[in-house]
Amino acid sequence: MSVQKNKSRMGFIIILPSLILIGIFVYYFIFWTIRTSFSNWNSFSSLLRGVYKYVGFRNYERIFMDPRFQTDLWNTLFFTLFFILGSVGLGLFLANLIDKGIKGSRFFQNLFLFPMAISFVVTGTVWSWIFAPGNFPNDPQGLNLLFKKLGLEKLQWMWYTSSESIGHFNLALIAVIIAAVWQMSGYIMAMYLAGLKAIPEEILEAARVDGANERYIFWKIKMPLLKPITLSAMIVLGHVSLKIFDLIYAMTGSGPNNVTDVPAIYMFELTFRSNKYAMGSAISVIMLLMVAVIIIPYLYSSLRRGVSS
């Protein structure tokens, strides 16, 4: 009994430092952000005065009424949707190619995974050069220049400076989505590859003997068995995309007329460029809630799965 007690006390002492640090730098600051979001601290002078005045949901009301924030929400929705579809689709495709054991698959595996090692800021900068439209058709840059050399002037486009849209979907986001998919699809490929390798060969052989062709095996055997991976991938990508800041900030910023603006950029600019701390905090809290909506059910189900097994 006392051995047990000693053990658990020891365990507690060992995790105590990180508990304290997380307590201060994560949970206390979350609390502080929420507190700020209900205050009137929307100018530098009000902050200096240091008097906390509770204003209820006024900051939230102002944010939700703000057309720029409404654009941000639409942008986030479309960015998340196509970013997840693109990364999962491409990742799954690459994982299957490599799992088939094509020549040099180990090399390609590392090649595809490599963008993962690069910071979003670097990715954003590089792709901003690639997608820089220049003065086309006659004096294009980046990709547009390549199109000119290949005689494909028809494909030249404004990319992230485009102000076209389909409904609420700003087409300028396409360039950002491509860059983000380029960065994350290798990681998703690695996840799927691990999942594919974990499927016992016998199950696939059993299906072959049972009469299934490879396409049927993919959709009816492999995909259902990869469902937990797909879910994890969507969670990982989802929380990246809801919080996306650095890639877009380095690549285009808000773009003309906020075509590539997202909540994180608006939050950053409100807080650190306009000193509207309370409104910035309100955006932060909204983002936190959006991420929580997808993360908490996932944590809940994976914790429960951990307990039951």
Binding site: P200, E202, I203, E205, A206, A207, R208, V209, D210, G211, A212, Y216, I221, P224, L225, K227
Partner: protein, 367 residues
């Protein structure tokens, strides 16, 4: 009618490993054929070639008189039961069993009828809604067998299906599979490294070692008439005793002779051993054909050896005596009433009518 014929079949892997060498044998219709051998002997590879899961490097494979070397597994009309069952984890037991039938576009009613019928035979009707992970090992095994049964294939292929079960369940499933074989009138090819499974279930046993077939025969044949030293030592527990000895001419005929060992060879074997006189041979005798002289009631002459007991292992129904005999070593399975204990001398009677002699060079059986 589903006869499987292997003609001079070879399997050579791309890395040069020669897994199966010139295998030729026939599995008759409705026969229970067991491929038996130690791990790595090529028996599973042979089975997988019959299934079409492994390419045949050389030779011809015929099912029902039709060459199927280049036929896809799904078109060979075979069912394969895997060692680790290979159930589809995301499907219910029902769907696992129905999978192959759905793919073959059977009408719904027939699928339902076949699955339920198989489930009844295998006593898993109450499990049809469960997922594999909710089943015990034995139940999964039954589902795997059920998945094969519903297809009503020409040939059933089993790859060590009982090796993941515990000992008690294994014995039970063994007799159930045997019953099932009679009930379904099926042609079965069954791979195992367990000679007890082979002996109890097989109509025909194919014994392999290092990719080469050692002997093909009934359980009776491989036990009583092993073709070589490997088969003799592989079949039977504890394995046959092998003693290095000489054949010598003595009073009244031929004798087996070694240090502390001088026993007379029965008349009927003498002719075959003429050419081995004064030559080194390997003398083989099974532990169950050795008796403790002090409690033996039958008649006997010139067949007694004396040795020192190293270990005595009482098993209840019999006692195993590990005996040293002039630097060589012998195991005797004797009546449990024996008084022999560790360290004592014991006189043993060898039932010479059951003896075996192997050529020392080729290890082929002479007797």
């Amino acid at each position: 009618m589903a006869q499987v014929v292997l003609e001079n079949i070879d399997k050579i892997y791309p890395n040069g490993f020669h897994a199966v060498k010139n295998a030729s044998f026939t599995i008759e219709d409705k026969e229970f054929c067991v491929l038996l051998g130690p791990s790595g002997c090529g028996k599973t590879t042979t089975l997988r070639m019959i299934a079409g899961l492994e390419e045949i490097s050389k030779g011809t494979l015929k099912i029902d008189g039709k060459v199927v070397n280049d036929v896809e597994p799904k078109d060979r009309d075979i069912a394969f039961v895997f060692q680790n069952y290979a159930l589809y984890p995301h499907m219910t037991v029902y769907d696992n069993m129905a999978f192959g039938l759905k793919l073959r576009k059977f009408p719904k009613e027939e699928i339902d009828q076949r699955v339920k019928n198989a489930a009844k035979i295998l006593d898993i009707a109450h499990l049809l809604d469960r997922k594999p992970k909710q089943l015990s090992g034995g139940q999964r095994q039954r589902v795997a067998v059920g998945r094969a049964i519903v297809r009503d294939p020409k040939v059933f292929l089993f790859d060590e299906p009982l090796s993941n079960l515990d000992a008690k369940l294994r014995v039970q499933m063994r007799s159930e599979l045997k019953k099932l074989h009679h009930r379904l009138d099926a042609t079965i090819v069954y791979v195992t490294h367990d000679q007890v499974e082979a002996m109890t279930m097989a109509d025909k046993i194919v014994i392999m070692k290092d990719g080469v077939i050692q002997q093909i025969g009934s359980p009776y044949d491989v036990y009583f008439k092993p073709k070589n030293k490997f088969v003799a030592g592989f079949i039977g527990t504890p394995p046959m005793n092998f003693l290095e000895a000489k054949v010598v001419k003595g009073d009244g005929g031929l004798w087996i002779s070694a240090e502390d060992l001088k026993v007379k060879i029965p008349k009927e074997f003498e002719e075959k051993l003429e050419s081995y006189i004064d030559k080194d041979i390997i003398f083989g005798i099974r532990p169950e054909n050795i008796h403790d002289k002090s409690i033996y009631k039958g008649e006997h002459t010139n067949d007694v050896v004396k040795g020192k007991v190293d270990v005595a292992e009482p098993l209840g129904s019999e006692t195993l005596l590990h005996v040293t005999l002039g630097g060589q070593y012998l195991v005797a399975k004797v009546d449990p009433t024996t008084t022999a204990r560790e360290g004592t001398e014991v006189e043993l009677i060898l039932e010479m009518e059951t003896m075996h002699v192997f050529d020392k060079e080729t290890e082929l059986a002479v007797i």
